[in-house]
């Protein structure tokens, strides 16, 4: 099956989402396709049409009916199949947008919310199969909470040959400073420092690292093992230099939201003792790539409210570092504008029929999250043969927001 190449007219999209309420991911993503957004110095209106919308969970605060009233071309559909076929017997859209973040689903035994990314995928690709046609597919955030399902999603996308793009906005948002990881550079160690907790914002921290280090010499080589540190083990590891304190300092020097440990100051660098007092639940996933790179994804909830990155790159006199800036509508802004580059990359895929970044990045980060949580549960380092097999080359072109 070849992907649909007939994109001469405005592509029509089906949106399949969990819940459509204020400031939930589906609202951010689908709203941008419907109402447009600021892009490249003007108000951009996507040259595509959301033809249908499926909402898995409905309830108080739903916004989709208001959106459908203003955009009558968007049909609210009771099933995913109908959203894709628009009531006919065959696939009738040119692209699919899946946003399965948010909504309320049961937790897995490891405490990961069992969001229906895979279930949606299966229903969608069943329509692809029965129609003998597959169209570009955008998936927000991770692939699935289960490794075998995540892997299968990627395998099926290759089998049916459709462009499949997935991931977090962290990989594509503004960077402060606006720098790209040098293509082909040799890197020994990388860290990201972020906020939130395990099974939620850990994914963003993992994507923060991966969108950078995948550009290193040789591309991504796969991950051999992972070890999770929390509570006292985290602080011991920090103090013993299990990961580089200098890199954490470099990353924190890019933060715009470093909580002052001393309340009579507004911007002061904390000592480790002060960090302990303001970060009750620190998390680190440390993992070793097959080519020797050591990556550590750190969450210091309570101390920062942003995501920063630092790495030791050969030939650089000091750490390479930046902030992946999220204009977060938690009082700092009113628009989560980091969804704009995510949607813009999706638009490019729908228009060109080519994913702008490799789905294997997302397979690796989805797998790292699953294994990181498993390592926490087992309380030890885990070998990760599944992740060792995820090897890929990056898009040499930068895809983050800088215009």
């Amino acid at each position: 099956m070849a992907p649909d190449a007939q994109l001469s007219k405005k592509p029509r999209l089906a949106a399949v989402v969990t819940s459509y309420k204020k400031y939930l991911h589906p609202q951010h993503v689908v709203d941008r396709l419907l109402d447009g957004y600021g892009w490249d110095g003007t108000y951009h209106r996507p040259q595509m049409e959301v033809a249908s919308l499926y909402v898995d969970q409905r309830g108080d605060g739903d916004l989709f009916q208001e959106r459908a009233d203003r955009h009558p071309e968007m049909k609210i559909c009771p099933t995913i199949e109908e959203a894709l076929t628009l009531g006919s017997s065959k696939l009738a859209v040119d692209g699919v947008v899946v946003v399965a973040e948010h909504g309320v689903y049961p937790l897995s035994e490891n405490g990961i919310m069992m969001r229906p990314h895979y279930e949606f995928f299966e229903k969608i690709t069943n329509v692809y199969r029965s129609s003998g046609r597959a169209v570009p597919y955008f998936n927000d955030k991770e692939l699935s909470w289960r490794w075998d399902w995540s892997k299968k999603m990627v395998d099926v996308s290759h089998e049916l040959g459709f462009p499949f793009q997935s991931g977090s906005s962290l990989a594509v948002t503004w960077r402060i400073p606006s720098v790209e990881f040098p293509l082909g550079a040799t890197v020994k160690e990388a860290v990201s420092v972020g906020y939130g907790g395990m099974t939620s914002y850990d994914f963003h921290g993992l994507e923060t690292i991966q969108c950078m280090v995948e550009r290193r010499k040789g591309g991504e080589s796969g991950v051999e093992w992972i070890q999770t540190y929390t509570k006292e083990a985290f602080w011991n590891a920090y103090q013993n230099g299990v990961w580089s304190q200098a890199l954490v300092q470099a990353a924190l020097s890019r933060s715009s939201t470093l909580r002052p440990a001393d309340p009579t100051f507004t911007n002061i660098f904390p000592t480790i003792e002060q960090m302990k007092a303001i970060v009750p639940d620190p998390v680190a996933y440390q993992y070793k790539h097959r080519d020797g790179l050591l990556s550590t994804m750190i969450l210091m909830n309570g101390m920062v409210r942003d995501f920063t990155f630092a790495a030791n790159i050969d030939g650089h006199s000091k750490p390479f570092s930046t902030q992946m800036y999220l204009p977060m509508p938690d009082g700092r802004t009113t628009l989560a504008s980091f969804f704009s580059p995510l949607v813009n990359n999706a638009e490019q895929m729908f228009l060109t029929g080519k994913a702008t970044y490799p789905i294997e990045r997302n397979l690796l980060t989805s797998g790292l999250l699953i294994e990181g949580v498993e390592s926490y549960k087992q309380g030890k380092r885990l070998e990760t043969p599944n992740l060792a097999a995820v090897r890929y080359q990056p898009n040499p072109k930068s895809t983050f927001w800088r215009t």
Binding site: K22, D31, T42, I176, P177, S178, S255, N267, L335
Partner: protein, 486 residues
């Protein structure tokens, strides 16, 4: 007579300073140059004030160019105007004595000292001190949230009662290598406003007092003044002339021109700029200087360099919407500037949606009291600052280059408490102290101070257009962009 505390503050090797590693490092850096001795002069040292956020950066370092940067600067003295004004307004010891009222003993400073630095006095006053008539100093009373005494104690610098004392550190001669001046409105003891809505901040007075010391001693040091030079253009101009005459580096300005930009773009150097539209929020003498200065920092790069402003007009209320309909400024540029905003209000607050505020007609509904600062440059370039309180909360610009290209960006103003934009400014201030050269053109601050005053004059004259022959200010912008990029 020195109290023990003052003596400890004066001594460059005060025990509290030894206890603070960054200062020790900067004072005894490996073979490094001796630190720049800095006098800090300001109006209020309360938490969140400009003085506190910026001066602290020279005490505890700041995030800069990918590291926690410790400038090679040692704060040696501090003068805080609000303390002295408050103390002078209160009845003095004699007045209290003759009315039979005794002054309350000094309350502990707020916030309380957590960890007094180790030392002979253990951070407390020595026992013999309490019998001195002037101790504890009367300025320590009455201001809630004043951090200056706590800082002086923690970092071992001298808290001074007047500006000459701060420059001389209590001695007979200038004992500082640089001056940091941050005069802002005080919450508890505010400066008055004039009938043009200007806050009468004594920036010129601070400057004048410093210059008197410089002249007396025939020795001048680099001087940084935060934000506008003065509310009056004549005084601002005199400040520049004086700095030239006495040959000391003078730098003045706000953080907005030097902060990060989203995206990282500038007007190409030497490009012909036809028009610029900037959008922001603020009051009549609050943030409008910063916005005008940020706009100026981009426009000064245009072809021919800066040649000045020939007329200004400030519009308010419905006149702004009428002018917009009549095409007084480019609607496309306004849309472009607003496309950079992350903070549209109205329906976005209601349900998170994206909005194009201009074509939708939402602006007049959202902005109750709009203001437009319309600038006509001598070379024909046109610029407009729109203050849109109620529609957005951030600062964005769009400029049209001859040939049709538009440059647009957001001036990134990271939120409190960190206020990372002032770290960008601190980097510039430090560079001026180390290199003894102003890092941004001080004539930018002069022109912007003059433009703001002229706009407020326009408002005062019922929004008349005002010709500004006095603002034909020429200067060349640095070829390299001066905002934070690395």
């Amino acid at each position: 007579m020195f109290t023990r505390r003052r003596f400890m503050g004066y001594s460059a090797l005060g025990s509290s300073m030894l206890a603070y590693p960054p200062l020790v490092r900067s004072a005894f850096g490996q073979g490094a140059q001796s630190p720049v001795r800095l006098a800090v002069l300001g109006s209020t040292y309360s938490l969140g004030s400009d003085l506190q956020t910026i001066a602290d950066r020279f005490l505890v370092g700041f995030p800069f160019e990918g590291e926690w940067y410790k400038p090679n600067v040692q704060v040696v003295s501090l003068y805080v105007d609000e303390r002295i004004r408050r103390a002078s307004a209160a009845p003095n010891e004699f007045q209290l004595a003759i009315t039979g009222k005794t002054r309350l003993r000094a309350q502990p400073q707020t916030p309380p000292q957590k960890q007094p630095p180790p030392g002979p006095s253990g951070g407390r006053h020595a026992a013999d001190e309490r019998w001195e008539p002037m101790a504890p100093s009367s300025e320590d009373n009455g201001l809630s949230g004043d951090l200056s005494a706590a800082r002086a104690q923690q970092f071992g610098f001298r808290l001074c009662r007047n500006i000459p004392e701060a420059l001389r550190c209590g001695g007979d001669h200038i004992a500082v290598d640089a001056v940091l001046v941050i005069v802002e409105q005080c919450r508890e003891f505010p400066y008055p406003l004039n009938d043009k809505a200007q806050v009468l901040l004594p920036r010129y007075d601070f400057f004048h007092q410093c210059v008197q010391v410089f002249e007396t001693e025939k020795h001048s040091v680099p001087y940084f003044n935060h934000k506008q030079l003065s509310f009056g253009f004549n005084e601002a101009q005199e400040m520049l002339r004086t700095a030239e005459r006495l040959n000391f580096p003078l730098m003045s300005g706000s953080s907005m021109p030097v902060t990060w930009r989203l995206p990282d773009v500038d007007v190409p150097f030497g490009a012909k700029v036809e028009e610029a539209v900037m959008v922001g929020v603020g009051g009549l003498d609050d943030m409008n200087f910063d916005a005008l200065e940020a706009m100026q920092a981009m426009l000064e790069r245009r072809k021919g360099g800066e040649t000045g402003v020939k007329a200004v007009q400030m519009l308010q209320g419905d006149d702004v919407w009428t002018a917009m309909q009549e095409g007084r400024w480019s609607k496309d540029l306004l849309i472009s500037a607003l496309s950079r905003s992350d903070t549209p209000l109205g329906l976005t607050l209601l349900d998170g949606r994206n909005q194009e505020l201009v074509s939708s007609g939402a602006l007049p509904q959202l902005v109750k009291d709009p203001a437009a600062y319309c600038l006509e440059y001598v070379d024909g370039t046109k610029a407009t600052l729109l203050m849109l309180n109620g529609a957005i909360r951030d600062y964005n610009i769009a400029a049209r280059i001859a040939g049709g290209e538009t440059v647009s960006t957001q001036f990134f103003m990271p939120v409190a408490p960190n206020q990372g934009y002032s770290a960008c400014l601190a980097g510039k201030i430090d560079a001026m102290y180390q290199k003894r050269t102003a890092q941004t053109p001080v004539k930018r601050a002069l022109l912007t101070s003059g433009v703001l005053e002229a706009c407020l004059n326009s408002r005062h004259r019922l929004n008349q257009r005002i010709e500004t022959a006095h603002l034909a200010i020429h200067y060349a912008a640095p070829v390299e962009s001066q905002y934070q990029r690395i």
